[in-house]
Amino acid sequence: MKKEYGALVVGAGIGGIRSALDLAETGLKVALIDARPSLGGILAQLDHQFPSDHCGMCKMLPLTQRDQSSQYCLRKGLFHKNIDIYLHTELSNLEGDPGKFQATLSRRSTFIDSTRCVSCGLCAEVCPARVPSEFNAGLAQRTAVYLPVPHNIPNHYVVDLDNCQRCWRCYEACPTKAIDFKFEQRKDFHIVVATPDEQLAQDFPLWFKDENFPVHPTSSGEDALKLLAEGLDCGLMLLDLDLPQAEAERTLRRALELRPNLAVVLLAAPGKERDKDGGKDKVAAALLKLGAREVLAKPLRQAQAVPWLDKLFMRLVSDESFSIEVGAVILAAGFECYDPAASPGGCADLLLYGSHPGVLTSLEFERLASPTGPSQGLLTRPGDGKPLRRIAWLQCVGSRDVKKNADLCSSFCCMVSIKQALLAKRRSHDEAETTIFYMDMRTNGRDYQRYRDEAENEAGVRFVPARPHTILPGPDGDILVQYFDYAGELREEVFDALVLAVGARPPKSMERLAQAAGIEVNDSGFCATKYLSPNRTSRLGVFAAGAFGEPTDIRGSLIQAGAAAMGASRMIRVYHGPRDETPEAEPEYTDVSRQVPRVLMALCTSCPTLERNVDSELLHQRMATLPGVVKVVDVQRACTREGWEALRQEAELAAPNRVLIGACLPYVHVPRLRELGEALKLNPALMDVVDIHTASFSGRDTSFGGHAACLASCATGAGACDCGEGARTNEMGSLLAMAAAKLLGADPSTLPQATPVSPQALVVGGGLAGMTAAMGIADQGFKVVLVEEAEHLGGQAMNLRYTLEGDDPVRFMEDLVEQVEKNPNIRVLKDSRVVLSRGKAGRFVTVVATGEGMAHTLHHGATILATGGHEAKVYEYGNRVRKCVLTQLELEQRLAAGSVDASSLSGVAMIQCWRSREESRNYCSRVCCQGALKNILMLKKRNPGLPVYVFYRDIMTTGFAEHYYTEARRSGAIFIRYTPDSRPQVDFKDDKPVITALDPVLGAQIELHPDLLVLSSGVEPGDAAEIADLFGVGLTSDGFFQEAESKWRPVDFLKHGIFACGLALGPATMRDSLLSAKAAAQRVVRILSEKQLSCGNVVAEVRDTLCSRCGRCISVCPYGARALDLDRDKIVVDELLCQGCGSCMAACPNSATVLRGFHDEQVMAVIDAALAVQPSAAARL
């Protein structure tokens, strides 16, 4: 029966994971697939991310309903009740329409059975193949059977068949027989060879004798078909194109009728015949279209044909293709880093990439600086290992380059270079000198300008505005870089290493994915999306998330992913109707709090590693003596279905109220505890899995000799041999004792009852962001109250007249306002203000006062703050005073209204970054560069000869907007760079602006007499201080909302249940606001879609009789989950906000507050168990 999923997410990079989590948390089942054998995409290779220079992926994990998902570092892996993860799987076809898609997925086999592999690594030790490792970006080598990413748990090994040398050593070395090359199925894999060439017909059977493939050579197509007709179970047919074309085609068509999934391979004669009549190519192409699999060039040599056919056999037998039914599809396949050594568009020769060890791409540098990298995190040059002390970064490699079909800006490489420069300084304890060569330093995120200033002023990173043209091998293995600085001097510098800030390219499998998903691709090769509907692809029901639509940084990807999740969730709800099936009933567990603790301990003794290294009989005896342990049982291979069944029967027999399983890789079993809990009617919190497997490995001798070998070699024989078995058994014994002690102290009482959720949302602010968010929530069937201060909806976006990409924002806003006002689920309160708000996630109570003095009290489950912002007020240079000085917004409105006639103008000057990116407002307002370009193109369209001069510091056109910057230059606008200390001076002569400034290229003062001066004054947040402390949320120093985590929770607040979006979060274009609004809407739907929010297993409780109300725990709680209830004079814990971090427990001197699962006596018992000295083996004898 075909599996049903709410959504299919293609690509398990950070964007994919975010979309999957956002959907899974609203209760939808999600299938998450990725072509790579590991989770995390490019992020698994990055350890630090700007602007916080820290890792923080785990902050993306759900906060409420925590126990549905994994609660450990995301690098290890992801588990969620509603997400099924298929790795090594690609989308091969997508039919049907939204709400009912049929997706066929093809999964390339890894040839290793994931339930058997215990990642002991012995196969990798014996594998002779050496291939550049993708994880370490080619800097290190890996074997053909390898571990894709060291962190992932369960991290099973993978066979890379293409580089496998078929020596089968790994097959022999594997202790648990997890590697399966399907040897025995070879003898019934019949191969039919239809070829007129006798020599080939004789050779084939000989060649494949030792592989014992049954080969049936036939001289013509008919004989082959006869064989098939007689019922031969044929696996592969080789069709020689030397046969007449008609016969070959008939044979192929007939064969596919007899065996629909038969693999047919064409044997094409070598080049010269083909050209004679040119027919063979066309024939091959035709047959391929008909269903032939691939073409193999003749003449075949045994050394090349046998491995090829053997591998094809293995793929045919092991790979599988299955189809699932999904409501919506999200494509989050991300991007590939530009490879300078790529043959057609590469620049390896110019930049010595590949020939000089010191020239690295930014990804390679990232791996170099990572502790799991080739040099264990020491910054040494690959090759001669020289410590890197003088490092240079070269920006825009493979981006902003018209000749390499990359007229786009990858938008993250500038910030990545600054981060890597800071990382290099920190790793080398400030000895490294770092230089960044750039054209425009694109730091247009909200905190990014401060990040750059800090790097430049405090950390001493040197920024050089120049584009090195010549890279030469320097003295003793260093690199000589020649460049022209802005003053026109030719400079030459020597560096230890040169890092190329490589841009983004569409993923390699892009056209295959686009063809499979049926979506169009834009001219840069990325998925085509429109400006004002950013994550809709060309096909309805298929959404683009993360950097798949447009190259963007991690924060952008996450917001895009959230928006795509909202689009998909809305699509599913619209086509499936309100979710009919009732949420599965909460399984009720028997209350064991009255019973004496009885622990059942199950030891999985299946792996050979265990028997050889541990004296299991002594272990059993020791464990039986543990307090509270009533039964110790052995289970064979607990990781398999039948092993798990055996364990369940044992458990039902012993009827324990605690279950402890000693097995390998606990993360595989933890999700299964839920089933066991239902079977035994025992709360899974009273069960635990402990990893006894790693212990049996680590320790001095990792060889497999174990105790036996040690006894033989160790003279004392029965003496206390400290190397092998004694230490292992001790370690395992204490691990189990510790786990048992913890379980003994587990608190069996039921969790505090869940808080019911009022299924309504409150949106404060009726601008573009507020309305989009309200629509996003209302369309998914929830009530929304939209509160707007002004008399009408629309906010700042109503002032826009046209966009850079040529959309019409005016009509877009009119439609949006009309939809919001007509939507039955949205109640609009205009000219009204929030007066008071109390409560927590799921149960907010807010009082809104309307203009006519009416006060509404609203009960809602979540809140979105979208108070927006406005154009910054700039009063210098005659702005607002003189007629000839405008801001970009006024110019846009006048151009649209026609009050400014471009053809009558004789010259226009523009000044960018006016009073932005300076101390009073030290952030880039992100919209003015695009605004300026939009106006320039409009002016030039109406008057091509009009001279336009733009004074700029850095043009911030990230993503595809770069194309319009090139257009603006091509249209004749002259861009003149200025620095904060040589600012253009403006004064006025007979009511016309006169601008004098230094043109750095000419090195000369120029004086312009335009008749219009346009200032880009940037963006300021609305006055949100009052709203902020009404809802108890924070503001940044510039007055924007301070989100919980700028990268991983971009639209959430630290206080759960309140979200923010739009201009109030930071400067944003219309597209950014739309995206953050949709992402915020999906976060709200995540809360509203639950009937009641239950808290996690690990949550704090207050034992009131012991508490002396000192308030220490209130101030120490990072989530503000604790409060002093004045009238009941008690400390009250809000179970929803509490994330179980335990800070309160450590702050309370007399453990008046305790954390479920980590009571003081529990931890003390664990410490005792850890220190209980185990008698060595000798004592037993």
Binding site: H151, P371, P627, V1116, P1118, S1143, V1163, I1167
Partner: protein
């Protein structure tokens, strides 16, 4: 009620012939350090077998009385390892741990417990080699420092 059958380890001097094996209790945070420990374990970086990891949700949860309990209970050393400042899943748990260890470093060394027996380190999620190196170095250091003298004292 059975009890934990443990033969008496020693009256004063360690078992003849067996070298001194330090017993080290490590309080590790569930997020970054536990991932590094798993990474060190699965990638076979040799770890001394005498370190027992006690998994806490965050180093901010490590109460000074756990450290005192461990040292008095016979642990030769205590390692507290958490995420780098700024990486903490709970935003500022590691800053609290740092202050509490600072307080203990002022008290316990005055009673002859060598300050090297308590160690606070920050280990990132992918620093498996760093964690293994820290643990191995720490175990070697304690082994050379010798057993803690609380084990033989008739006190608790």
């Amino acid at each position: 009620m059975q009890e934990l059958i443990m033969t008496p380890q020693m009256q004063g001097e360690p078992m003849p012939g067996a070298a001194f094996e330090p017993a080290i209790v490590a309080f590790v945070c569930n997020w970054c350090t536990y991932t590094a420990a798993d990474l060190a374990g699965t990638s076979r970086m040799v770890q001394s077998p005498n370190v027992r990891l006690v998994r806490m949700m965050c180093t901010g949860m490590v109460d000074p009385k756990y450290i005192i309990k461990a040292l008095l209970g016979g642990a030769d050393a205590v390692l507290i390892s958490g995420c780098h400042p700024g990486d903490c899943h709970y935003i500022n748990g590691n800053y609290k741990a740092r202050r509490r260890v600072k307080l203990l470093m002022e008290i316990l060394p005055r009673f002859g417990i060598d300050s090297r027996r308590i160690k606070l380190t920050w280990v990132g999620a992918s620093e498996g080699n760093e964690f293994a190196a820290t643990v191995n170095r720490f175990a070697a250091e304690i082994k050379e420092l010798g057993p803690i003298d609380t084990r033989s004292l008739p006190l608790l």
